[in-house]
Symmetry: C2
Amino acid sequence: MTSSFYPPLRTLMGPGPSDVSPRVLGALARPTIGHLDPRFVDLMDQIKELLQYAFQTRNELTLPVSAPGSAGMEACFVNLVSPGDTVIVCQNGVFGGRMKENVERCGARAVMVEDAWGEPVSLDKVASAFEQHPQASLLAFVHAETSTGVRSDAAALCALATNHGALSIVDTVTSLGGIELLVDAWGADAVYSGTQKCLSCIPGLSPVTFSPRAVERIRARSHKVQSWFLDMQLVMGYWGGSTKRSYHHTAPVNNLYALHESLLMLKEEGLEAAHARHRHNHEALVAGLEAMGLAMAVAAEHRLPQLNSVLIPEGVDDAAVRAALLEDYDLEIGAGLGALAGRTWRIGLMGFASNERNVLYCLGALEAVLASQGARINAGKAVHAAQAVFKR
Amino acid sequence: MTSSFYPPLRTLMGPGPSDVSPRVLGALARPTIGHLDPRFVDLMDQIKELLQYAFQTRNELTLPVSAPGSAGMEACFVNLVSPGDTVIVCQNGVFGGRMKENVERCGARAVMVEDAWGEPVSLDKVASAFEQHPQASLLAFVHAETSTGVRSDAAALCALATNHGALSIVDTVTSLGGIELLVDAWGADAVYSGTQKCLSCIPGLSPVTFSPRAVERIRARSHKVQSWFLDMQLVMGYWGGSTKRSYHHTAPVNNLYALHESLLMLKEEGLEAAHARHRHNHEALVAGLEAMGLAMAVAAEHRLPQLNSVLIPEGVDDAAVRAALLEDYDLEIGAGLGALAGRTWRIGLMGFASNERNVLYCLGALEAVLASQGARINAGKAVHAAQAVFKR
């Protein structure tokens, strides 16, 4: 019969959710209070400030959407796109395709700029898309592609948009808290993220921030936003300003306790220190994987430290390896997606999960599983190679 | 400076969120696992079964939307409404107005059937709306109006829709778990609810269920659903069937632990026992309020036991009373909304919060605050009158 659910204690090194800090789980379980309680309204103000720090922005319209990252994506599109608009969408992995869906469901036209999965967005292709489509009102791209582990040059892409009189929509689901993200300095206009990656928080919220230019465009809309739930003009009434909060929807109170705690942890550590930690653990993991004889799927200069795509060696059974890691080691790593399905694994080192113990545990477990399945690897070197990076 | 947030320990007797059971908070804080983990997929199956029990339905498409109740509402409308449709919308409180917004944002026409705030939906008015608009493809109404505390006759309204060849969309945000709700027996087609009312769970999820007729209409759509996030054809790929789950969005894993636990508690208690408990505590509260000399805002036959609208006595400062209850008693009750703002209080007795202690505590605190503010009440009788109901 059905009974209370006690999850296994996994180590989460896939593409997210990542391991959630015990501090965050502790905050999550504190007693629920009302979403209009004055003490909760104070908390909302603190969350906004902490998000402004995490995003490196002074944008007034900065808040967590009460739903997962895909709803944050949709919030950016439905508020900024009007029927008939032309939007340049960059696709170099799964999430560019989802952006295209969003544009089309807003009754607008998506001009696709495609790059190979595993490559960053090409600045030249985007520049020529703007030349061919000067009426384009938006450029949308993914900063850190979760499906491939590739970083694109967000600063340059935002600048291209601005130079062509367009606004930018930037997916930072996997970058926030893990690598440099400078919303104001880059001039990014609408930015969304998720809580379950480098913020080490539970899944279910999507931090977003909109520049003053983006807010101006939202206010100037002649069509109502097609989503009531995601209409930022309404959401602003609850999250915005210091005056009376008007009820829009019931905020996910406990999830916001958790987000507050995770953002506080990020601020205590400091963004630069958090980025350095992600980089350092990534270097150790790569040293270990390469010592084992595995090859990375992405060129070194485009790699995300928080999401490591590894080529699956010839003859190795992808699903069997991941199943053995999960069953025998309680260790989750990610499968490849789309064009990379069956060809790569995705090893996440995100947020709280980006630590020495996880790097060493994963290398040891992966080596043992590959060896037991008869894969040709250089045994006995991986953990040592990673330790050498930690000790230098 | 910013530090960890420790909420005050409130007693939540407003319109929701209601007090969350410690069992549910305990489940919430269990370690996060991946949203594609086989153990998590098992949990999803259990949640679906438990929701089918709570909704009293065999509908295959029964699941929690990963966002608050207003997103559940939107999920029903965007999937079932196409541009140009005519939808009959009943309004007897706040939420009918939100339904109208949803219909219009889908490019359809809302035919409004209006009743006074504090009254149930009039069956005669709905019948004549169908006669005047035979092309109407949907009837939308609120079963339990959270803004007024009124129950409408959902069985009869669903039958009216069916008899006119229309589907029904039913808001059960405040009814699920608190009063009788028979999705299959009534022939309701698309039903949404929330987790933070009579389920005693945290806010942030919206259970929904769609009848086979509703699913057929969704599958027959010629327009894509305007929301990618809420497109049930895509969501079904993750939640539906027993075959391979395809990734749609990252499920709010910990919230689903909590929902599972709260649904399990409901099943352990049994729906009929839960309804009887809500009714009994309501009777005790009303006896106490009336003994104090206060009057209920809704006629006895239309009252919701889980949400009690009380008229504010003449000359009493609404906001001051609620502030004193919150500050001096850590007790939250709800303000009136819209047409009833400043005229009523809304006292919730929902889910875990529907218990004897809360009834007695609320009556004692309210009496003390009203007396201290010089209101003319019959002092010293309320708690005793409620106790008499409990003891009979």
